[in-house]
Amino acid sequence: MKVLLIIPAYNEEENILRVCREIEEYSSEIDYVVINDGSRDKTKSILEENHLNHVNLVHNLGIGGAVQTGYRYAYLHHYDIAIQFDGDGQHDINYVKDICEPIIEGKANLVIGTRYLDKSKSSFQSTFMRRLGSRLISFMIKCLCKQKITDPTSGFRAADKSIIEEFAKEYPTDYPEPESTVCMLKKGYRVTEVPVNMKERVAGKSFVSPWTSIDYMIKVSLAIFIDSIGIKKERRK
């Protein structure tokens, strides 16, 4: 099984090298590709100097476009599993095994690494507003797709070959995680969740205020609603 880690990175000069070294230490069988989304800091030179496998986007595309580039890369090089992995050190590399398991066993097409599942002893649960937002989005998804997705905004996900192909062709750019999950559910792919641990950012800062959470939530709800209208259900095994 060829496994690829897709690492979108935008201005991650403080984290990217450590993240890549962690991956190399974790397993030599796993490939990774850093998608440098037009960073304005030293990310590019760090990637080049240390010979980390990377793609430099010629123009900034935002997280959706960057991640899709990774899926295109995975599709081009015939990977069996592609895992989205943040370049800021939030995701724990030790859970890669867990997140791949349902795909290897043939139980799922798309696996989401979830922070909020009870079994998870996650050290980082994120703020109250974000959790509330996640709850509401997952409620919307349950209404629209009849399946519970506890952590629809999680960026730690694994995709099998069929999903890689779907994402390489079409990937939402506005709110990629929840939107793509809804699209795949609507198309009849099997989506499961696996509890993972997420760490707090080691360096750099993440910009989330209560207002942006509310704004985000409303727009995501609308977006997934619109997404779900356009898709005809295809039956799949």
Binding site: V55, H59, L61, G65, Q68, T69
Partner: protein
């Protein structure tokens, strides 16, 4: 409509048509869009050439004032135009993203190949 106003409008329309036709001639606008702009010019000419045409139509449709009908029609056309432009913009955006991704992936491939070549040579 007074005579002075009519003459002023005719002059404006002529200038308008001149600019549109010039832009079309210099291929600044796609043919499919230029048809729309020629049509707007023609409608203006007809409305000015036939006296009381616009007044009669607006009366027939039940508008109290002629200007109301003109504004109404103009706003609808503007909405249609903006929406159309929005669709085109979204399409172009999608194409742009695809191009950036493909170029970036190609660049990576070329660089990888160059490196391999260098290793072979040395």
């Amino acid at each position: 409509m007074g005579l002075t106003l009519r003459i002023a409008l005719i002059i404006v329309t002529v200038i308008y048509l001149f600019f549109i036709l010039r832009a079309i001639k210099h291929k600044k606008v796609q043919i499919s869009f230029s048809i729309f702009w020629i049509l707007t010019g023609l409608v203006l000419v007809i409305a000015l050439a036939i006296p009381n045409l616009v007044e009669n139509i607006s009366h027939l449709l039940g508008f109290e004032l002629t200007v109301n009908m003109i504004f109404c029609v103009a706003i609808f056309i503007c909405f249609y135009l903006i929406f159309n432009l929005n669709i085109i913009l979204s399409k172009e955006n999608k194409k742009n993203i695809l191009l950036v991704q493909e170029i970036s992936l190609l660049k990576k491939r070329v660089e990888d190949l160059e490196e391999k070549q260098k290793e072979k040579n040395s």
